[in-house]
């Protein structure tokens, strides 16, 4: 083979090799849904917030709940999965109310009055704090990609668990049981989330 042929052959092989490597890298990234990556908050102090109630009431600061397990859920009336899990959240909130466990539900990307009206219709737990998040500051601080997303904060104020997607009473209860037992359940993916209202 001539020198030209050799150069062309090696150049061709180099281009093919580089293309294959590039394709493998791109292919490996296909499986990484940014909404499913482990939250960087796991194991970290929970971002502080001080929010008013959805009904305009005084609300609460996270620091006031130190010493309790906090179940922090982001929801909206336009989110079907949030509606599906609502009864389970209410049931778990009431069931664990005597165990130093506080449920906090924060309205996401919705007028607080609309969220509150939805709760009036769907039913509320007397043990749950329903809060408004103006400017989505708390949702941004917790890195919410879509709803429902539920964070679990231990008695020391550390984020120790997260559920992406619809939760149910069994998953909520089992996660709380694990936290009370001193474990760190980590992240669980249960289903789809909604990014914004359907057009």
């Amino acid at each position: 083979m001539s020198v030209t042929g050799q150069v062309l052959r090696w150049t061709g092989l180099a281009v093919v090799g580089a293309t294959v490597v590039l394709a493998v890298v791109l292919a490996s990234r296909f499986g990484t849904d940014p909404g499913l990556v482990d939250s960087p908050l796991l194991g970290e102090p929970a971002p502080e917030f001080a929010l008013a109630g959805l009904d305009g009431s005084e609300g609460v600061a996270l620091s006031q709940l130190r010493g309790e397990v906090v179940v922090l859920n982001f929801f909206a009336s336009w989110c079907l999965e949030c509606r599906e899990e609502h009864d389970d959240l209410v049931a778990a909130s009431e069931s664990f109310s005597d165990r130093d466990v506080t449920f906090v539900q924060i309205g996401y990307q919705e007028d607080p009055a609309e969220s509150f009206a939805y709760l009036e219709e769907a039913g509320r737990s007397a043990a749950t704090l329903y809060l408004a998040d103006p400017g989505s500051r708390t949702a941004i601080a917790y890195g919410v990609f879509g709803i429902p997303e539920t964070f679990f904060i231990d008695t020391e104020g550390t984020v120790v668990g997260k559920i992406i997607g619809e939760a149910n009473a069994l998953i909520l209860g089992a996660t709380i049981d694990a936290i009370i037992a001193g474990e760190r359940p980590g992240q669980q993916i249960t289903g789809d989330t909604r990014q914004q209202p359907d057009p």
């Binding site: 499913l36 009431e94 941004i140 619809e166 009473a169 909520l172």
Partner: protein, 335 residues
Amino acid sequence: MSERVRNVLIVAVMAVMAIALTLLVSTRPADVDRVEEIGSRIKCPVCQGESIANSPSPMAEDMMDLVSERVAAGVPDQEIIDELLGSYTGAVLLDPPASGSTLVLWLAPIAALAVGVGVIWWWQRHPGAVGDPPAPPTERSRTRLVVGGVVLIFAFAGILVVASNSLQDRPAPASGAADLADQDLTEVSDETMEAVVAANADNPQVNGMRLALAERYFDAGDYRSAFPHYLEVAEDPDATAAEAITALVRLSWMAYDGNDEVETATRLVEEALAIDPNSTVALYVKARVRWCGAGETDEAVTIFETLLADPGVDPETRARIESDLELARDGEGCP
């Protein structure tokens, strides 16, 4: 144009570009520009591949407001980005980081450029080679070409298969009731069981967990907590016969043992026997209620003897019945 003039022009253009680039880099952008610049690097978490600066979504607007506030407060760009990275990870960056597995994405264009420059440089050094007539294909070279093509096709097919397999499916939403059958209840707290039962009150599949929870309370002597769960199962038309009998028998015993209501206890256990007249547990509780509550020792002895005649009674229950029968025959009080 002479070569000298051309060279001077090239140098002049490069100098102007260098000066422009230096000015661009060294000039501190206005705050509005900074907000836009930072926003253009942050991916809108609720959109498909759009920056928060370009997305009209309310979430992107909220994030831009946050960036704007931080810029106005004099927070450096990198700190603002780090704040978002602390919540969202690198997935919130539009450009992949030039490190780790994505480094190759940054290096590939440079490598391709280097290869191209190298090839051009080599051709310029061997001008005669370009004009060489192509050698006629031999049988060997044709075979190599075919094999190479097949290998390439299989390689790309393999990559596609790996890629499609690596697509991460979100699991279907879990149903609390559907999970109940497989759940090891020894690991589940009373509170969790209460929550599951309350959330699935209309689902007959929850009766198993409801009874398991009631049994925990019953065994602990907490009749007050056990009662509503047994009553719920007893009144559920979708409950199985075994579930209904268990609930009625427990209600019967609690009516006698907890409230001394012998008539109610007898009525409830008769309801259980109406479902299954041969139910061992119902007959045993009936005998105990008649003996301990109503003082009907003879009736109890008859029932105990009937039960012992059944070879299907398990050894533990049989031992208990034999012990009770002995006490009843001796005229002893109910233990």
